[in-house]
Amino acid sequence: DAGITQSPRHKVTETGTPVTLRCHQTENHRYMYWYRQDPGHGLRLIHYSYGVKDTDKGEVSDGYSVSRSKTEDFLLTLESATSSQTSVYFCAIRKGQNNSPLHFGNGTRLTVT
């Protein structure tokens, strides 16, 4: 068990509503990541964090914001959800420095209707 919990596991929401996904870790690791996974696209990096209040954009950051006010929590917010944001979202942590592997959470399946 990598000590990562994503919540909620499933969510259905309507277009235009705000949505926040939570990633919680129990081991105080510095690096945390949000990816989305869609058929034919693999895993695409949305945002990542390298410490409290330190975040940076990934490949597909438009329409998403993140916050990390505590080491253990990394929040992903869709300010106004769109149908194109229907996806499976994975949080990951890196247990160490740059050459360490990523450990993924179990994912959140988000459907925007």
């Binding site: 693999g42 990542y48 940076d56 890196r94 592997p101 990523l102 450990h103 959470g105």
Partner: protein, 111 residues
């Protein structure tokens, strides 16, 4: 920019071998390999760093050619449990904390 994986899919019979390739247009500092079963999270297999090293894990091994900016994953004597989608993730020097994944290679091993 996403690394390019090939092939997109491969079907094997148990005991056969397979090679999955991962190439990038950017200079690479590290390459990660992960496997994902349907409906599950990706699971880490191995990391390779620049220097051309080769790593092995049971009957799964990988190589990294930094000059060619590519890595290959070798699966020998495949087992049913090897079925899944394989992803390579690449890190560039100066930004290796940002891991960018390819689109994946779906491997199916049949009895």
């Amino acid at each position: 920019q996403q690394p390019v994986q090939s092939p997109q899919a491969v079907i094997l019979r148990e005991g056969e071998d397979a090679v999955i390739n991962c190439s990038s247009s950017k200079a690479l500092y590290s390459v990660h390999w992960y496997r994902q079963k349907h409906g599950e999270a990706p699971i880490f297999l191995m990391i390779l760093l620049k220097g051309g090293e080769q790593k092995g894990h049971d009957k799964i091994s990988a190589s990294f050619n930094e000059k060619k900016q590519q890595s290959s994953l070798y699966l020998t004597a495949s087992q049913l449990s090897y079925s899944g989608t394989y992803f390579c993730g690449t890190g560039s020097q100066g930004g290796s904390e940002k891991l960018v994944f390819g689109k994946g290679t779906k491997l199916t091993v049949n009895p």
